[in-house]
Symmetry: C2
Subunit: 333 residues, 2 copies
Amino acid sequence: MKKLINQAEDVVKEELKGIELAHPDLVKVFYDPDYIVRADAPVQGKVGLVSGGGSGHEPMHGGFVGLGMLDAACPGAVFTSPTPDQMLEATKAVDGGAGVLHIVKNYTGDVMNFDMAADLARGEGIEVESVVVDDDVAVQDSTWTAGRRGVGLTVLLEKIVGAAAEEGRSLKECADLARKVNSQGRSMGMALTSCTVPHVGKPSFDLTEEEMEIGIGIHGEPGRHRMKVEPADKVTEMLLTPVIEDLPFKEGDEVLLFVNSMGGTPLIELYIVYKKAVELLESKGIKVVRHLIGPYITSLEMAGTSITLLKMDEDLKKLWDAPVKTAGMRWGI
Amino acid sequence: MKKLINQAEDVVKEELKGIELAHPDLVKVFYDPDYIVRADAPVQGKVGLVSGGGSGHEPMHGGFVGLGMLDAACPGAVFTSPTPDQMLEATKAVDGGAGVLHIVKNYTGDVMNFDMAADLARGEGIEVESVVVDDDVAVQDSTWTAGRRGVGLTVLLEKIVGAAAEEGRSLKECADLARKVNSQGRSMGMALTSCTVPHVGKPSFDLTEEEMEIGIGIHGEPGRHRMKVEPADKVTEMLLTPVIEDLPFKEGDEVLLFVNSMGGTPLIELYIVYKKAVELLESKGIKVVRHLIGPYITSLEMAGTSITLLKMDEDLKKLWDAPVKTAGMRWGI
């Protein structure tokens, strides 16, 4: 294992310290339990958005804390769910009196711990709603999931609902919006290489020099099939077709197309995938009206990509375009 | 070689098509010869900034074309200098009557071809100045370089001089500013793994599972020494110390600290390096007043990092903070 780390057990703490040193204008970092909140938290009268999950997917979620996106993120150990006490403290720290929305990726540990934290927070008089993201069409159940996994759509949902909270929508409106986004978005990913979890020290799975895994999860969970590496155009089609057919996305739909790097795949390749995806969508009469291209929900250094489609409307476009100021996503401000 | 590409010879053209499809609001893309210009080029009365170099370092340079940064970028084949005709056409396309500044990384082919393009453009009546970036303290001469290589400082220089051009400074002022930035910035990089150039099909160099290369160039050119992998803190010190000592940066200096990923190194590791770098600088009384953290000048999927320090003053801080709107760097707008 070759990584720019010190002791494997210190990776998350040292990363958090780096974030704290780099972004005091955006966030405050707390330790034991670990959580990140926006610098001006709690924002009085605004719904607080809390997300979290295992570390190793950066910039998600800590890099999405700030104006127009999340109010707090709870980082677990690498690929390990955060604990209820992290989520409870984060919830309390961002409660500005308008309630708190938990955005939970569908992994068994995340769902269980966020449920417990929501109960504890309600016990302290905070109104909490939860939304589970489960956009991965690749498999029904998986290593750490009952039902579909939460993957790339999480990034889009956090941006859009973050903008809604920022403009003063209520907890119920934010929760309904989050459920709408989840219902209108679908994703699928693939890997060319594995990643290595620092405290494990060896690759999460093995792929030969000729193989790729289609339908991979963001922790390297098995996908649909392992097969010989194909050209980018073919891979793009293998990811996009099940995504389109699942919702289904239809002729005349306007979509946001998100081409994500799993971490190790460079931008030059993402644009090749993006090109083919646009061509395929256009051939079906589906119009790409917004996009996101880059490493936003990663699996450490894994090489690969995921494609997310979100059906857009005027409200979602307006919320997507709204200003955002975080370490990992910024525009309009 | 496992990559998300189709034919190796089509990589750059397909990437450009992806950029064209994604960013029509920011750029226009031209083919044969290939170059990217900002959507509103030429901007009348503004100095035009043109850079370029081999592809494979994305987002540099194409991702830096837009308001407040470059007016044009000329992408060569992967790790191959662009040609004088690309540079000439780009220069003509962005000439708004105030002259054009060529920002050239110090590689023999780039310097030679930009020189030729400048001569040709002058022959067509365009005032052209050139600035060569040579910030890499690792080695004096290298595989493709007489003198020091141009690396991470290029990103900072393009942002700062881009802001100066945007606010209406003259060609001479922009060129002087670029030379000042070059004189006040230093960089050094390292690699944990090699990268693979698509049309070569095998790794550019070999590192064992236990080795790293300190002082690597952005094309995998040899550095200062190859050694056993050390912890991130030690690696950070090995990069930062020669950078500090070279200028030298001194107690009381204010600096911009840029921790860059070579491509395959994830954000979680960059923040660990950033943390240690800040601690080292603070211990020497050097104050980090601005920063940049992420993959901005990459070497395809190479794992590794580079550290750049730039001595700041009030003018440079103001220019750094000025709005920028490009695919690869955006804030304030």
